[in-house]
């Protein structure tokens, strides 16, 4: 067994090359978003939003079948609507955003399941929920590329208010009105990445690629920029190893990628300096002053 087992499948099969490219771009795009979700203590919001997208994608699917543009547009609109409504309710009433988000995403999800059951069978719903990274056609790759570009630019634009909201939201409110705007744009970027991700991995697994690498990175490094960088690296590694597992072991591709990300997380939990074990076991050193 020579070294080219590491890249031979990708050389031989075009579909695997595209899968790798798509998954890697998604990993790079989603990691910073996931890192911010984590730091803002909104880790579960990603999962909630992935369910919120469903009726929009379902409507797109009912109208035009498994076509990229309608499903993407529909999903994006639905996700944004839920984010907007949740935000509005939390600002206009005493209810907090995690509650209003839960309320609206559940409504959205139920609507989505109902809509799909009207026309499609169970198999069709699965297609909407679990896309496959092995079937990324040109349109899908372009979409993923677009999502990543918008995501990077968007994050750069709202970086400072996002950062301030993580660190000292009251202070931000006292100096600027950009807080709520940045928050809404950020949720928009979450939805965008999920919508891009569901083409490749389906709505449920797209969240995995967003959260797991960043969460694992947190066990190694502290700083925001470092978590983002390491999260991207872990995401790319998960994409590569997951596809390898799918090829050499015959595992379903999407779940394989996410499971690899999960294994990285568990290994980090066990073996990283900030993980569960080393932080207790290593002798603490201190300087003289």
């Amino acid at each position: 067994m020579s070294l080219d087992v590491l890249w031979a499948p990708f050389v031989e099969f075009a579909f695997l090359r595209r899968a790798l490219v798509g998954a890697v771009i998604l990993a790079l795009s989603a990691a910073p978003v996931g890192a911010f979700l984590m730091f803002r203590r909104m880790s579960l919001a990603g999962d909630a939003m992935s369910h919120a997208i469903l009726p929009g994608a379902a409507v797109g699917f009912l109208l035009s079948g498994l076509a990229i543009l309608p499903m993407t547009l529909g999903g994006f609109v639905a996700g944004l609507a839920v984010a907007l409504l949740a935000g509005a309710v939390s600002r206009l009433t005493a209810q907090r955003e995690d509650t209003s988000l839960a309320a609206f995403y559940l409504i959205s999800l139920a609507l989505g399941v109902l809509l799909v059951s009207l026309k499609g069978s169970n198999v069709d719903l699965m297609h909407v929920l679990f896309g496959t990274v092995l079937a990324l056609n040109d349109d899908a790759l372009i979409l993923i590329g677009l999502v990543a570009s918008i995501s990077f630019v968007g994050l750069a634009l709202i970086w400072r208010p996002l950062y301030a909201e993580c660190l000292d939201p009251i202070f931000l409110r006292s100096v600027s009105r950009s807080g709520p705007v940045a928050h809404f744009i950020f949720l928009g970027l979450v939805v965008l990445n999920l919508v891009g991700g569901f083409q490749a991995l389906g709505t449920l697994l797209a969240v995995g690629l967003m959260m797991l690498p960043a969460a694992a990175a947190r066990f190694w490094v502290r700083r925001l920029e470092a978590v983002i960088g390491l999260g991207m690296a872990f995401g790319v590694l998960s994409a590569y190893l997951g596809l390898m597992a799918s090829y050499y072991l015959g595992a379903a591709s999407g779940p394989a990628i996410i499971l690899v990300a999960g294994i990285i997380y568990v290994l980090s939990l066990i073996g990283a300096p900030r993980g569960a074990i080393l932080s207790r076991v290593l002798p603490a050193r201190h300087r003289v002053a």
Partner: protein, 291 residues
Amino acid sequence: MHWLALLISLLLSSPAIGAPIQAVASFSILGDMVKAIGGDRVEVTTIVGANADTHVYEPKPSDAAAVARAQIFFVNGLGFEGWMDRFVQATGYRGPLVIASQGVTPRDFVDDGVTVTDPHAWQSLSNGLIYVRNIRTALCRIAPSSCGAFTASAQDYSEQILALDVEVRAAVATVPPAERKVITTHDAFGYFGAAYGVSFLAPEGISTDAEPSAAGVARLIEQIRSTGVKALFIENMTDPRLIEQIANETGITVGGELYADALSFPGRGAGSYLEMFRHNIGLLVPAMKGD
């Protein structure tokens, strides 16, 4: 005057006079054949309608009611209708049960590692002739006075089948022998393949419901490359985008919808037994040639 009443009631209940024979057929293809032979003298109710799957069908109460009323019940046999025995028992039907495939030489195939009898005998037109014979005999037995009409229709229909058979063989002949193969998920073309010399290969690596793995997709691509197959007939399965991806990578064409177990809805191109054959050939032959 009891004898007059008896005679009248006998005459009235005889299928030969006035009321058409109430016949039930288990599935659409069979129903079409019965109608072709019985004509106006038979009213056919079909249990498993167009585009439906007989293998997994679950009979409804209305189906049971139709059978209970029926005077004659046609089924395919050869294990096609797995639910049939319990169903017939449940309806309390005691009339004639006609097995249309009686007399056919069955073939076997391997389904999930188990060797079973292939029930899709009608996919060979010469078997179709056997079906016609069986149907005609059964109808004549139940309505002897109309037997003349049944025989004439059956004769006519058989001639059409024979002509179609010649057509099919001629069409297949235009495909070079080495290229007479397709990949399809349908397992219903065994008799067709044996009769007309076309190989129907099962796709390796991907299945209807399970999420595909890279290994599976790679295996299918390799199968396509190594067998030199030019056409893929895989519908209702997995992700059509995945099939598109495979087609792009191998240069293979993705074929349209083949009808194997059932007729299409009327007007969709495969609304009768004969139409179905023509439709399938119309798709298979160009696909095999790589058009």
